[in-house]
Amino acid sequence: MNILGFTITGYQIAFVVLAGLTVAAAIMTVLLPNILRAALFLGLTLFGTAGLYVLLNAPFLAAVQVMIYVGAITTMIILAIFLSHRVMKIGFFQAIYNPVLAAGAAGVMFLFLFITVANSQWLKAMAAKGPAKTNIGVEAIARALLQPYVFPFELASVILLAVLVGAVVIAKEDTEGA
């Protein structure tokens, strides 16, 4: 497609749509006073990110993102909200701290990051080609996890076990009075 001298590819349109969805949902996530709706919008943000992973040639990661983030973490957060909130009663300005100060700080942070991205030389050298079309499949990820990255992989297993036990111990009702 050619608009005003710029060539626009379908990938660019897909990126803009997905990025817009993701950012809009993220803003809703932080601004909605009702925490349950915020959690649902977090799910939408994570879903949009999964779409971006597909654009980045990482379909397996997209599937992982949908299963773990959208499927598991969001569900867990919503369950925790059910267990711990009186959801409907909170007004916007009771639910938040000073938004102007926070927006200022976040804006400064964004400016800093954006200037860094815009000015970096190595980025320009590196970014010329776009994502490689070699299809990095599940097999390559499995090899990477079990050969060069086997130590962090095992470490992650240990951490997950510790977290499993820890979460149960912390959340368990104290029935023995100890």
């Binding site: 932080v30 959690a39 971006l52 040639n57 954006f114 590196m126 776009g130 979460a167």
Partner: protein, 107 residues
């Protein structure tokens, strides 16, 4: 020079910066501990986009970016599980989860 898909990597990095700052903003304004956890998830997610983008835009595309992202997702799940367990326990003790008023751990 245009990339194969016409998307320069700086688009992804800028998007990631926006998401991170939105998460940072949420982290600063939320009172409830669960709201803070939501913002942390947003920030981790932004970092993940960065990792995957760098991984697939390198001249020799590497799997490392995706593997790192998988580790980050794993740790995010772990962090959410422990964080929510703590939140539920605090709610049981104090009937609220306002991060400002939680005083159980103060000396």
């Amino acid at each position: 020079m245009h990339s194969a898909y016409g998307i320069p990597i700086s688009w992804y990095l800028t998007l990631s910066a926006i998401l991170f700052c939105v998460g940072l903003f949420g982290m600063m304004i939320r009172r409830s501990a669960i709201g803070m956890l939501l913002s942390i998830e947003l920030m981790l997610n932004a970092a993940n986009i960065n990792l995957v983008a760098f991984g697939s835009y390198l001249k020799m595309p590497t799997i490392a970016g995706q593997v790192f992202a998988i580790f980050v997702i794993t740790l995010a799940a772990a962090e959410a599980a422990v964080g929510l367990a703590i939140v539920i326990n605090i709610y049981r003790l104090e009937q609220h989860i306002d991060a400002d008023k939680i005083s159980a751990m103060k000396g």
